[in-house]
Structures are given as structure tokens and as C-alpha cells.
Amino acid sequence: MSQTSANMPASGGRATAPLLFRGKQLPPLLIWPYIALLVFVLFPSIISILLFSFWRSDFVSIDHTFTIVNYVDALSDPVYLTILFRTMIFALACTATALTLAFFFVVAVFRTTNSDKLRNIIFLSLAVPFLLGGLVRALGWVGMLGNGGLINIVLLETGIISEPIQWLLYSWFSVWIAVVYNTFQMAMFPILLSYTAIDERLQDASRDLGANGLGTFLRVTVPLTMPGIYVGGVLVFVVSVASIVEPRILGGSDARSVAGSLISDAMLQAFNYPGGSAKAILLIVLIVAAIALWSLFAERKYRVFSR
């Protein structure tokens, strides 16, 4: 049967003698407004951060002479560096947790039931809270983790502890919980996509060749889900490293200062746009570096890109 006949034109018979630019048509009129938004808002915004990082300002005016003093200040400030470092570790912890939980969750759902319908219900039901927004969810955790919160009260009532656990709330712990909770979906969906794409027969084949359950798991399932894990990891890391809402609400005095809050304070409170911008650029650099390392790992060990 002729392939091309069956796929009568994908373009549905459009324009005549189209204008060509480098051999291809111009983007259709349809998307010019959106392109305009990207070109005239998104790009300049990103560039603005870069620009401001090389300027100086006081409360009144901006000095546009090129200078790297903002970077020097930031990089020579031990407090800033400590916070940056802590944020990175924190983000890595969140990413690791989210990925692990998401991965095992997907596997668990698949093992719990064979019904596609039930599986979809479970996955969707976990996705719904995602739509509530970080704020509402953070609020919920305040109630869960506080001294008078659900966890403490339950533990107290059942006699497991005699005094409420203090560090549940207003600590790195609570911020960690909240961020993982908020980013879980971003890890789960890519992993789910990759996992469902795995041909079951590959796992059977592995067992057929003599590998036991664990072996199959490590050597077949994980590598095949790696593209999803990779994407999930990127998404979670990026969000967690730049989070400001959860640290503010749940961080208490310990954990409220993360890289993101330094930037937002600089922008909103000190009005030190250049300072904030420089810190933002440094953060971007770190994110890019982290993603690069992650990509290298994914490619070397699991050939995520060469598939």
C-alpha cells in the first residue's frame, strides 16, 4: 500500500508559491503574536538580568558603566557563598528524594494493579493537589508539622513521644518536605512516560536470560526509565534551587535564607537591582553547570541522548 497516499498532505493544502527564507517557509501568521511575546518580552527579560548585573545603582539612579563589582562582592562574601552552597545541597537532596519517591511510586502503582483505569485514577489523584499552588500546600504543611500539628499530636496522643518534636517545622526538614511535595509531580510525569514506554517483554527477556528480580530491575528497568528520570531531575532541581516561597513560610530562622531569597530580598527590599541580578546570574551559572554534569552522567552511564 502506498504510504504517501494514506498520508494525504500534512499541510492540508496551504499557501501558494510561499515566501521562502533559507529554503523554508516563514513561520505561519498564526504564531506571530506568540513569537512577538517571546522575542519582545522573554528574551529582553533574560538579557536585562545580564545587563543589570554589570551596572551599579543607588536608590535614585542607575550607573550604566560596565563593572564586575557586583560579582566580586557576591563571590567574596562568605555568607553568600555559604548560603549558595547550602541551597545547592538542599536542591540536590530534594531532587534525589523526589526522583526516588516518584520512581518507586510509579513502579508500586504498576505492581499494585493491572487495571489501566485504576492506575490512571491513582496518578491523576496525585496530580490534583498540584493545581492548588505552592502557597496552599505550604499552608497545609504548617498544620501538619507544627508543635500542635497533626503529626506531633498523633505521636503525643499515642504516647510515642512525650514532647512535641520541635524540628518538624521551621527547619530545613519542613522546607525539604514542602519542596518535595510541591515538585513531586514534575518528577512523576516524565518517569511515568518513560516507564510506560518500556516494553514488558524486555523485563521478561532479562529474566529469561537468568537475571533475578533485583538484577532485572537494576540492569533493565532503571536504565530504560532513565530518560524520564533525567527530565524529572532537571525540572525538580531547577525549581528547588530557586524556591523562595517554601523557605519563607516553613523555614523559620534556620532555613529561610536560600539563594533565591537573597536574590528576591535584593530586588524587593534593598532595591539593589545590580546586586540581585549578579546573584541571579551566578545562580543560573550554577544551574547550568549542575544540569551539564547531570547530562554527562545520564549520557555516559545510561546513554540517554543517543537513543
Partner: protein
């Protein structure tokens, strides 16, 4: 071996579901608790906190703003997302890869940075934070989602239908209105609701870009910094319930699409 694994898995799944819904249910439960603090100290059932809401004009004003913003964002994001999805699937054009990547940037870029960027850019233009910068930010943030949503639908749309329409003499407008639109209506709907929810509940961009007209999350955030009044719990519960309803609506449209 299989059986044990299944029980363990089921347990884990149950655990995750419980953990996911616990904070939300807690908020809802305590909103009916006759105790003015956000702690588990059950005193009795009351709905008085809900009536408190009526007095909080700041919340009520903020709702109006968030709803309007949400509707505008959703309208624009759905249109852009659908247009982009169609162009990606049906046409090949110059810079296609770059444009696609740019459309995805807001997904990869932390909202913090997007917010600062737009704020800085606006300041260069001499524009302060306000409705338009926030709208731009929200549209940039939500369009990748609507794009993905519509992409799935348009990929499943038979291209020969459009060819047939043109073949019979329909021009572009007619082809769109009579052939394409009827077949993507439900997805547009779902996209719209998704974008609306995302915009309605969004805080980070609003921190930087909202002007004098504060959105709902901003007002709640400000409240929370001081303490958590029980009226807030009641209000949040209402937000949760309405979001759930919209989410069910989206799921229903998803089901309709599959048919």
C-alpha cells in the same frame, strides 16, 4: 514473592496518597474547628470562620483580581498554545527548532528568575510592576502547559480532513471553523481550565510583577507572614474545593476527548 511485593507496593501507594491529601484534608477539617489557631486541638464544630470571610474585603477584592487575571491569562495561553501546537504539527518553517525551544524556556527557567527578568526589563522601559507585566509573565508561564495539552490533541487530528475541506472549496477560515475547531473544542476547554488554575494559584511571579492590585495568593501570603487566622483556613478550604471541582472538570473533558 509476587504476592508480598504486591502488598508492599499497595501499602506504599496508599501511603503516598494519604501523605498527598493529608495536608489538604487537615486544612479543610480544621476550618470547621471551633478554635482560633491552626493546631490540632479539637473543640467543636463550627462554620463561623466561613462567615468571617465576608468581612475580609481584602480577600474578596483579591479574588476579583485573580479571577480576571486568570481568565485573561487562560484565554491568551490557550490561543497561543493551540496556535503553536498546530503550527508545530502541520507546518515546517524556518527557525522551527529555536522557536520551539524558546517556547519551552519558561518551563525550564525558575519562576524567580522569570519574575526578576521581566521586572528589570520593565524598569528599563520605565514601567513599574502592574497588571500588564504580570499578565505577560503568567502567559509565558502557562503557555508551555497549554501547548503540551493541545499538542497531544492535534497530533491525533487527521490531516486529510483539512485537505478534504480545502479540496471541496473551503478557505482557511471555513476550514478552521467547521473542521478543526469542532474537533479540538474539548481540548481547548481543558487547556483553558488548566491555565486558569495555574495562573490563579501562582505566587512567585506575582511577588515581583503585581502592582497595586494584589492577587489572591499575594494577599494570603501577606496574611501568613503575620499569623494564620482561621478565616484563612476557611477561605483556603473554599479554594481547595473549587480547584478540585475544576480539576474534576478537566478530567471529565479528558475523558470526553478520549471518546
Amino acid at each position: 514473592m509476587r504476592l508480598r511485593a504486591n502488598y508492599f507496593s499497595a501499602l506504599f501507594v496508599a501511603f503516598m496518597v494519604i501523605v498527598t491529601y493529608a495536608p489538604i484534608i487537615l486544612v479543610a477539617a480544621l476550618s470547621f474547628n471551633d478554635f482560633p489557631y491552626f493546631v490540632v486541638n479539637i473543640r467543636g464544630f463550627t462554620t463561623k470562620w466561613y462567615f468571617d470571610i465576608a468581612a475580609r474585603t481584602d480577600l474578596l477584592d483579591a479574588i476579583k483580581i485573580s479571577v480576571t487575571l486568570g481568565l485573561c491569562t487562560a484565554a491568551l495561553a490557550t490561543t497561543f498554545g493551540a496556535a503553536m501546537a498546530y503550527a508545530l504539527v502541520r507546518r515546517d518553517f524556518v527557525f522551527k527548532k529555536y522557536i520551539t525551544f524558546s517556547a519551552a524556556i519558561p518551563l525550564l527557567m525558575p519562576l524567580l528568575l522569570l519574575g526578576i527578568g521581566i521586572q528589570l526589563f520593565m524598569s528599563l522601559l520605565g514601567v513599574g510592576p502592574g497588571w500588564w507585566p504580570l499578565l505577560a509573565g503568567h502567559v509565558l508561564y502557562t503557555t508551555p502547559f497549554t501547548l503540551l495539552f493541545m499538542l497531544t490533541r492535534i497530533l491525533g487530528l487527521d490531516p486529510s480532513l483539512e485537505a478534504a475541506a480545502r479540496d471541496l472549496g473551503a478557505n482557511t477560515v471555513q476550514t478552521f471553523a467547521w473542521v478543526i475547531l469542532p474537533n479540538i473544542v474539548w481540548s481547548l476547554f481543558g487547556s483553558f481550565m488548566l491555565a486558569f488554575l495555574l495562573s490563579f494559584n501562582e505566587l512567585t511571579l506575582a511577588l515581583f510583577l503585581a502592582g497595586p492590585r494584589q492577587t489572591l495568593p499575594l494577599v494570603i501570603y501577606a496574611m501568613m507572614k503575620v499569623g494564620i487566622p482561621p478565616a484563612l483556613l476557611a477561605f483556603t478550604t473554599l479554594m481547595i474545593v473549587s480547584t478540585m471541582l475544576v480539576a474534576i472538570g478537566i478530567t471529565a473533558t479528558l475523558a470526553k476527548i478520549k471518546r
